[in-house]
Amino acid sequence: MLSRTADNLYWMSRYVERAESLARILEATQRLSALPVDYGGSTNEWESAVATAGCTASFYTVHEEATQETVIDYLVFSDQNPSSIRNCFRLARSNGRAVRTALTGEMWDALNGAWLELKDLDSRGILKGEELGRFLGWVKSMSLRVDGSAYRTMLRNDIYWFSRLGVFLERADNTARILDVKYHVLLPEIERVGGGLDYYQWSAVLRAVSAMTSYHWVYRDSLKPWLVADLLILNAQMPRSLAACYGNVGLYLDNLARAYGMQGPSQKLARSMRAKLGNAKIDDIFQSGLHEFIVDFIGTNNRLGAAISEQYLT
């Protein structure tokens, strides 16, 4: 396969996944910010949404304050934000268009259809309330459609593997960033005001990765911060956990290595992170520092992205 094709497939998937993650983060944020001040505490949820999206610096070059309007505008519609949901769909589609020959008709229909619908959408009507909820639901359903059509129609060859790599690398990054922004609410030793606050923050973290129900299935327990962290980091059954993402990253990199009869730095990096996640205990992670662990993970994940690019995509 052409290196450029692999690159386009990989980024196409990353952008679709990014759009979906943004939609989930915004849903959780909207829910949290709708709580009475007593529950919501002093944190500005819209500000932390911007932080989770990883664009705090660029946001403040455009807006002065993080409010629902400015954040939704910036994270959803803005042309100035290269990773706004709108730009994600645009870039996903243009990456897909560049490799149309590698996509199935269903995948292309899903990608192209999503962009055509979004392209002319008037942003003014959906900055809040019901319309916003409906719109974010639409974003998720588009991502599900792209993902589902990939899963159901694509040949299981390198085309598929590169596109999946993009999904899981991006997903790992997103989950890690949610943890990075919210890690302080998961730390048991920090003294906080008002018990309600914690509960809603934890549930917001779970909602941001659609894991509220899963949590109860897995732990049969009320919300406990270390269990939330365990679910998101180490539980391989939870599709958005770091462990699950690296299970998949490893799987697809191994498939590539087998098909091409050659392995390189990216396989090595992925395996070592997978082993680390497999062997870790949540207590140990808290012991040696949750924040340090997450920062280290984000760094490794970025290095893996660069290694994949170097090994296959250029």
Binding site: L2, A6, V99, R100
Partner: protein
């Protein structure tokens, strides 16, 4: 002068090729056509068949209007046409081989040398170099028009990178989905095997140094090119890689593509990029869409380019007028397809005739294409006529003129219902080391405006499916 209508004779009777269609149209409920047309447009949008019109701000991604009433030819009519096409393409190839070789035709005084030497499409870089299998034009699009039941004229030879074949194929796909009943009643020759034939052609022209299973790629200028949709469509159907310049590199006069498995040798490049952008080391140094060193690999015989470099000198409108003589010179035969009588404005007598008869003539730029820079005398305003008169006097060499042909008309579904509209036809001729292949069909272009003779999509033209069938 009434144009020849391909469906209805002057006395109102229906020509045999159209009998089943006419009957179907007569009985079809009026809403049905409207409904199917909407459906067709939806399908084209979904598929993503788009083209860009130059000179428009929102140039990206328009779809060409599609007319749902097919244009029909009988197998017998088609057979006559294909003989003429094959002959024409043979002559084009012989001409190019000679022009870049011994130049016998110049020595014989048949074509004036300055038309070659000063022609921007002539590539000195190709002179004295041989090309694999002596083939220059492997893919040709010969534009023909019809004026009566028996007579076809060649309007233009397209010997560079003719486009439009994806429309031929997509039009058919859409028609089969929209009108299954019509295809059930009529035996229409298929066009879907075009890409198989194209791949066979491309494989047959691989250089001798290639393996028995040569690697063929399609090279595109990129996704912002107006014909990008077609490039990706064809690569998909051909099952070959769609490459951009940056995907290829040349080392030691061999072309490779960058793949996830490492460099892979490339043997045949079906390039849809103009000569001057191919290799920044030989042509335009500012080309960022080419491959440095490509021409050295080409000259070393390690890669085949289809079409060859420098074929544009054969499809130039100034050369066009010499085509009947060119054909006779190389093949010793009479041309089967007619040439439209052409006044070469470079010749003083012709110029003065053209200036005297401007309102009756069609004037074209010698190096223009796409219907730009063209004057249709009978439809031109006084001001347009004057503008062209000045242009002609200033630069007579830059223009040719032709009589206004009465292009045939076909029934077309327009706002006011079904009405005759002028059409032309671009059949695609494939020329491989193992012979010539012509798919029964082609791209019919239709001038949607009443009375208009300009069929170019950039000028408000549409397309139709073209049926060749037994009756």
């Amino acid at each position: 002068m009434a144009a020849f209508d391909e469906m209805t004779n002057a006395d109102g009777s229906i020509r045999p090729a159209y009998a089943p269609l006419a009957e179907w149209l007569r009985t079809a409920p009026p809403d049905l056509l409207t409904y199917r047309r909407q459906e067709a447009e939806l399908l084209f949008r979904r598929i993503g068949v788009t083209f860009a019109v130059y000179g428009e701000k929102e140039a990206q991604e328009r779809i060409i209007p599609f007319d749902i009433i097919p244009r029909i030819m009988t197998t017998k009519e088609w057979r006559g046409l294909t003989q003429g096409l094959e002959q024409r393409v043979k002559a084009l190839n012989a001409f190019l081989k000679d022009i870049y070789g011994r130049q016998e035709i110049l020595k014989a005084g048949i074509v004036p040398p300055d038309l070659i030497y000063l022609n921007p499409a002539f590539r000195p870089e190709m002179a004295g170099k041989s090309v694999p299998h002596d083939l220059y034009v492997q893919i040709a699009g010969i534009d023909v028009v019809r004026v009566d039941a028996d007579t076809f004229y060649v309007l233009e030879d397209n010997a560079r990178t003719p486009s439009g074949v994806s429309y031929m194929m997509e039009n058919r796909e859409v028609m089969i989905r929209l009108f299954p009943e019509l295809f059930g009643q009529n035996r229409v020759a298929p066009v879907e095997n075009y890409t198989d034939e194209l791949l066979a052609t491309l494989t047959s022209i691989a250089p001798n140094s290639a393996s028995s299973d040569p690697t063929v790629v399609l090279m595109t200028p990129g996704q912002f090119n107006s014909a990008y949709y077609e490039h990706s469509f064809l690569a998909d159907k051909l099952g070959i890689e769609l490459v951009e310049g940056s995907d290829l590199f040349v080392k030691d006069e061999v072309v490779y593509m960058r793949t996830t498995k490492g460099p892979q040798r490339v043997d045949v490049i079906y390039r849809r990029i103009d000569d001057e952008f191919l290799d920044p080391l030989v042509f335009r140094p500012d080309s960022t869409i080419g491959v440095p060193g490509l021409m050295s690999a080409y000259h070393a015989g390690n890669v085949t380019l289809a079409n060859a470099v420098g074929t544009g000198v054969a499809d130039d409108k100034a050369i066009y007028s010499y085509m009947p003589d060119i054909l006779r010179f190389y093949l010793g035969e009479e041309p089967i397809l007619k040439n439209v009588p052409t006044w070469r404005c470079r010749e003083p007598e012709a110029l003065s005739y053209v200036l005297d008869h401007l309102p009756e003539l069609v004037v074209k730029e010698v190096h223009g294409s796409g219907g730009y820079g063209m004057l249709v005398g009978p439809h031109a305003s006084k001001q347009e006529l004057e503008t062209f008169r000045k242009k002609l006097q200033q630069d007579p060499e830059g223009f040719i003129a032709q009589p206004t042909l009465a292009l045939s008309t076909c029934p077309t579904f327009v706002e006011s219902g079904i009405a005759p509209r002028h059409v032309d036809l671009r059949p695609f001729v494939l020329c491989g080391a193992d012979g010539v292949r012509i798919i029964p069909g082609g791209l019919t272009r239709v001038a949607l405006k009443d009375g208009s003779l300009v069929v170019n999509s950039s000028q408000g033209g549409g397309t139709k499916d073209t049926w060749v069938m037994d009756v």
